[in-house]
């Protein structure tokens, strides 16, 4: 009977066999609970590292992305400029074609706020005069928020006689983003290396399993089992190792994020912003689980391909 005719005549049985093999190899893993768990844990830890870093970086991207679009120009006015003058300057600048909003932070208000928030109230009380200048926080119109146009506008503002210091708070965001890009590359490299490690771990585990079941393989070949038939349980075993490793990685990353979310919320509060650490999104989880299962499958495929053909009954 050819393979083709068997497939066509009994697709149900074929599926039933696969389900049976999948379950029995799962049963084998559960039978050797401790050693299976250790293998899966090693895979999980290896995968948790790049996934965790990826999540942290995408969080960082979210934050810095928000910072960039909110890039504003701080125009610190000369100390000699009075609040009235500052107010009229703000009014003038509001008419500027490239400027969306101008917020005046009165030097008096700023000092009060600083006293209230910094905890240096007593020390500041001791000062003769207010050291803070009036400040105009200028938000360019949306179409002028790119680094170049914002820089042009800043340059223009620097020429104002009232201006003391003009700061465009964008440079460090750019630098941060450049660093993030490097870090993302590093994560990709790390992920590739650790995926290779997972391949080797699964491959080696399957190799040992093949050695342990050598007699069984020989006997099954004697009886007329095809290589595909003999390969199947090992491939499923590799698949399960990968999948459970992925689940452990997911668990580890989720746990780390929960542990980090408290301190991060506190840090965000110190920066007067509320920031929620975004956890693993469904797509990342899906990629993680299917990727790890695929790695397990590939690892066992490599081992099976190398070692199974060497076993022939005698």
């Amino acid at each position: 009977m050819s393979l083709k005719s068997r497939l066509f005549s009994m697709p149900g049985i074929w599926l039933q066999r696969h389900a049976q093999v999948a379950l029995s190899s799962l049963g084998r893993l559960v039978g050797n609970r401790l050693s299976s768990l250790m293998t899966c844990a090693v895979i999980g830890i290896a995968l948790a590292l790049p996934v965790g870093l990826h999540v942290m970086l995408s969080n960082l991207n979210t934050i810095s992305g928000g910072w960039e679009s909110g890039a504003s120009i701080s125009l610190f006015l000369d100390q000699s400029i009075s609040s009235e003058k500052a107010r009229s300057l703000a009014e003038t600048l509001r008419q500027h074609t490239r400027i969306e909003t101008v917020e005046l932070i009165n030097r008096q208000t700023a000092l009060e706020e600083f006293q209230r928030l910094s905890g240096y109230a007593d020390a500041l009380q001791a000062l003769d005069s207010n050291p803070l200048p009036n400040l105009l926080v200028i938000q360019p119109k949306a179409e002028y928020t790119t680094a170049e146009t914002a820089e042009q506008l800043a340059q223009e503002l620097r020429l104002l006689p009232e201006a003391d210091i003009v700061q465009l708070d964008l440079q460090w965001v750019r630098r941060l983003q450049a660093i993030t890009v490097i870090a993302q590359r590093a994560v990709v490299v790390l992920a590739a290396l650790l995926s290779m490690a997972v391949l080797l771990i699964v491959g080696n585990t399957i190799r040992l399993e093949i050695q342990n079941r050598r007699t069984e393989i020989e006997i099954t070949k004697l009886i007329g089992a095809t290589n595909a038939f003999i390969r199947r349980p090992f491939l499923y075993t590799g698949f399960w190792y990968g999948l459970f490793g992925g689940l452990i990685a997911w668990f580890l990353v989720a746990l780390s994020l929960i542990l980090l979310s408290g301190p991060i919320a506190k840090l965000a509060q110190l920066y007067q912003s509320s920031f929620d650490l975004s956890s693993l999104d469904p797509i990342t989880v899906l990629v993680l689980l299917s990727g790890s299962a695929l790695l397990g499958l590939t690892g066992s495929w490599l081992a099976v391909g190398r070692h199974l053909s060497a076993i022939e009954p005698s």
Binding site: M1, M10, T215, T220, P313
Partner: protein
């Protein structure tokens, strides 16, 4: 059923397993293969089951030219040849039932059909009541009968047995031979390698004798010298 045409088998290192074997075994024959250990009995069986390939000549089994058979076709050939071994070769982590079921599982039969056929085979060798036992709990003779049930469960036209009674006392050996005779009566071709000459001569069947890798005697034809 089996046709050897000038077949020889040399092992790497120069050792000769078989030389210039010409042999014809028809369907439904029961043939004993005897000779001293090392005479080439096992090698001859291995060539038929394609555990080894001949180094010269043509081997035809069941209308198939084994010399031309590709490696990936070997499993399908083995499904048509039941093999019985002196050391039984059972899987010790499975029950008797699962051991006997293995050839049917391998060929992809359905659950119900497997159960029916396995029980029929176990019934034939008288071990139906032991289907849930582990092979290690059985005696040597019982283990061999499990091996026999496994070899015939898929109803192969040809059964090979390599020293099937090697570890058994004369009485058990006789029982095994009776089983073989029964299979032969329903049309199975049997080729049984054994050095138990007393047993063989009591069976009144065709006897082939190998000496140093050459066929030195065939009871069906006359005494002959193979050059």
């Amino acid at each position: 059923m089996i046709h050897f045409d000038n077949v020889s088998k040399r092992y790497p290192g120069g050792h000769t397993g078989l030389s210039n074997i010409n042999l014809r075994i028809d369907a439904e024959e029961m043939v004993f293969l005897t000779g001293h250990s090392g005479a080439g009995k096992s090698t001859l069986l291995k060539l038929i089951g394609l555990l080894e390939r001949s180094s010269g000549g043509q081997v035809h089994v069941n209308g198939r030219n084994l010399t031309r058979l590709k490696n990936r076709q070997i499993p399908y050939h083995r499904r048509e040849v039941g093999m019985i071994f002196q050391d039984h070769r059972l899987l010790h982590d499975r029950t008797v039932f699962d051991n006997v079921a293995l050839p049917l599982v391998v060929s992809g039969l359905g659950h119900k059909e497997i159960g029916r056929r396995v029980r029929a085979a176990l019934d034939k060798v008288g071990l139906l009541h032991k289907e849930k036992s582990a092979p290690v709990t059985l005696s040597g003779g019982e283990q061999q009968r499990v091996g026999i049930a496994r070899a015939v469960v898929s109803k192969p036209p040809l059964v090979l047995a390599d020293e099937p009674t090697g570890n058994l006392d004369p009485e058990l050996s006789k029982e095994i031979m009776e089983l073989f005779t029964q299979f032969n009566k329903v049309g199975v071709t049997l080729l049984i390698a054994t050095h138990d000459l007393a047993l063989v001569s009591s069976m009144n069947q065709r006897i082939l004798t190998l000496t140093n890798g050459a066929l030195s005697h065939d009871s069906k034809t006359e005494y002959r010298d193979v050059t």
